[in-house]
Symmetry: C2
Subunit: 206 residues, 2 copies
């Protein structure tokens, strides 16, 4: 079964619509999807940024929020800006990584619905605990596992791999032949690429 | 007849595929298209950038060149990086603005083909003169008109309007109801929006 890796950051605005629709798009194409939560902070720090580029560059920020309104409107997704933006996503990413693979999609959807659908903070156990309970996971033990050293190290390693793969931002899809597709608007293209035979030939043609 | 404005910058890499296909997409939708060449330099300067963000932020630059290869490959457009990138596009923008509206598309295509299709410089009359001749325009008088004060002022005013409209970058489409769509990958969406009735209702739903 062909596969693709989906890289997402809970604080990232465009990761919201992408994360909400990527499983369905992968299933339509009979693709196995590996979910890779990671942190944009270290990646942005490497570009000299200590905040979201949507805050650092206001024209891009204003555009993004209107663009996201149109995208969510077309998808029928609620949109409510979290305050502050971006949210501190460290704990959510650790929790997502600590979960069994099979539970990661439902948890990720729940976090994004709370954060960008309802504008709620996602930085505290007070929010994340009930979201875990909602998907049938006992919050206390999972939240404890999330902050164990081995899980913290795993998230660092995953973020380091995102940087090594050359991801420019989030969300991204990566394929086994080393292609990177950045953005909610590249999901279909990236998944089509992951599934298509003759990738090498297509790369040469391009 | 519904209309949209297409904002492009000759130095901009993603403006290349967008400019090559925007007339056909507008014609399919029976839309009148107003071409707006402008300069990204003043817009970027407002964000503190004195170079292309694709040079300032290498991860984004590496991604862009590979993404553009895939896009051009899929469209059957040749791609050859101009050196240096970005090219100085001031003269090309002035010439495009000085031309009659009806000649602007053909000239713009010719500039992009030379610059990103063949990797040739576009900053000098030695390149732009023959491109004008190619589309049936006498180079000397047009190149003289391009550097008249009134034409220089018109380009400044057009660039100032791009900033006032909130364009985050190039290429962009703008619609009469004030929407901005940024990127080669938003052309279809922007043109569909420009054509559709009931825009206000759609905006409220979004």
């Amino acid at each position: 079964m062909a596969q693709a890796e989906f890289w997402y950051e809970f604080a990232s605005s465009y990761s919201y619509p992408a994360a909400m629709r990527v499983e369905a798009l992968a299933a339509e194409r009979s693709l196995a999807l590996v979910r890779r939560p990671f942190l944009l902070g270290p990646l942005f720090a490497g570009q000299g940024w200590r905040d979201s580029p949507f805050n650092l560059f206001p024209a891009k920020g204003r555009y993004m929020w209107r663009d996201l309104e149109r995208i969510c409107g077309a998808l029928g997704l609620p949109l409510s800006r979290p305050n502050p933006f971006p949210q501190n996503s460290l704990l959510a990413a650790r929790v997502a990584l600590a979960l069994d693979d099979a539970l990661r999609p439902a948890f990720s959807h729940a976090v994004y619905r709370a954060e960008f659908g309802q504008g709620r903070p996602i930085d505290a156990t007070a929010t994340l605990g009930p979201l875990l309970a909602e998907i049938g996971v006992a919050p206390e033990s999972l939240l404890a596992r999330a902050v164990e050293d081995s899980n913290k190290a795993a998230l660092k390693a995953q973020t380091a791999r995102a940087i090594a793969l050359g991801l420019p931002d989030a969300p991204c899809l990566t394929t086994v032949d080393g292609e990177v597709f950045w953005g909610n608007d590249r999901l279909e293209q990236g998944l089509d690429w992951a599934r298509a035979p003759g990738l090498a030939a297509r790369k040469e043609r391009a």
